[in-house]
């Protein structure tokens, strides 16, 4: 199920240089289409920003998109899979498959810089390791905040309250 970089290179080298070039372009196209698919529960983050899309490659004439779940029970995964399917079909990709990969397990380290910034603008404090200081309030920026519950409106978020502006906020917890 897991494709190693070596295997990918071999895949490409089976084709003529022109064909390999076309495939690379198509890979980039697919990545850009996937970039337009937003997480249904955090609609400012694309599935690429979230690190859900792990790989795009071609297996002969078939496109293979590899995704990984954030949390094992995340109900958004079914919606995301449907949206990937719809997006590829809309662009005329006739043959493709979507594979799920569990290992390495998803981590918030894979969140893109752009994704972190968008979270903050949206009012969700982006993940950061405990050792790097307090969680700052995404509304007023104050570092004086406290945890209310490790479990928030979705599996990936905890509930915090700001001691300065008194606003509650979601924290995208480290995973």
């Amino acid at each position: 199920m897991v494709t190693t970089p070596n295997a990918k290179r071999q895949n490409l080298s089976r084709h003529s240089p022109a064909e390999a070039g076309r495939r690379r372009t198509r890979n980039a196209d697919i990545w850009s289409w996937l970039e337009e698919i937003m997480d249904p529960e955090i609609p400012v983050l694309s599935i690429c920003d979230l690190g859900i899309v792990r790989d795009v490659h071609w297996d002969g004439a078939e496109a293979v998109v590899t995704i990984t779940p954030t949390y094992s029970g995340c109900p958004a995964m079914a919606v995301i899979t449907d949206e990937i399917r719809a997006s590829l079909q809309k662009r005329g990709i006739a043959r493709f498959r979507i594979e799920t990969q569990l290992s390495p397990a998803w981590t918030t380290d894979w969140l893109s810089e752009k994704g972190r910034e968008r979270l903050r603008e949206y009012g969700i404090a982006p993940p950061r390791p405990k050792s790097s200081g307090p969680i700052a309030c995404p509304h007023c920026g104050s570092p004086s905040t406290h945890l209310v519950s490790q479990f928030g409106s979705t599996a990936c978020k905890a509930i915090y309250v700001c001691d300065s502006c008194r606003e509650p906020f979601d924290y995208f917890k480290c995973h």
Binding site: P69, G73, L102
Partner: protein, 253 residues
Amino acid sequence: MSQNGAQFFEYVLRLGDNDLILSQRLAEWCGHGPVLEEDLAQTNVALDLLGQAQLWLEYAGKIEDKGRDADQLAFLRDTHDFRNLLLVEQENSDYAHTIARQFYFDAWHFLLLQALQSSSDQGVREISEKSLKEVRYHLDRSSGWVIRLGDGIEESHARMERAIHALWLFTGEMFEMDAVDIEMKERQIGCDLRALRDPWLNQVSKTLEEATLKVPADCWMQRGGKRGIHSERLGYILAEMQFLQRAYPGAQW
């Protein structure tokens, strides 16, 4: 299915059924939590466990190789075919019982998943690795509540004390090694459950002590869940969980 496959299927089924039944129990709290945050937390944990159950049961279906998927295993088996520990089917009762059940299970679940990271089987390793990250949060939360309620007011202390004693007799089964466990350990797919007992007891004792609660004394331990011998409570859980498939066989979303 070969004899080897049958034992492996049984082993993975146990892992999946523990998650599934506890998840169903926790979901009963949905809309009834004592405070909103706990309502959310309880159902978040239920959702994690449901996701993990789905991974294990899907995998069990592959090992069995008879075309059964996770849904079929969850919805089309009767009580005697379930392999969960008796602990997880115990009633929610008051919040102290729900928390005590969760705490005993989380502390064990964490150690188990940690041990299964070195399984010789790739599927077992991958599902354990994924689950362990979630279970770390579960254990944090249930330990925190044992301490808050135990070291709380007189009433919460008394209830927590009752709960940890009432459920103690269901903890022995977690460390029991039967023929399936022994074979899985020999093939290095599974782990030595008996070896988890000491670290589990250490963790439990440490938390109970902080919660000003006494560690229950050794007593006779109830067992049978792993072999499909359940209390009547499981029947009620399944009647609710499987209602739709029983009433409308083959129904799909």
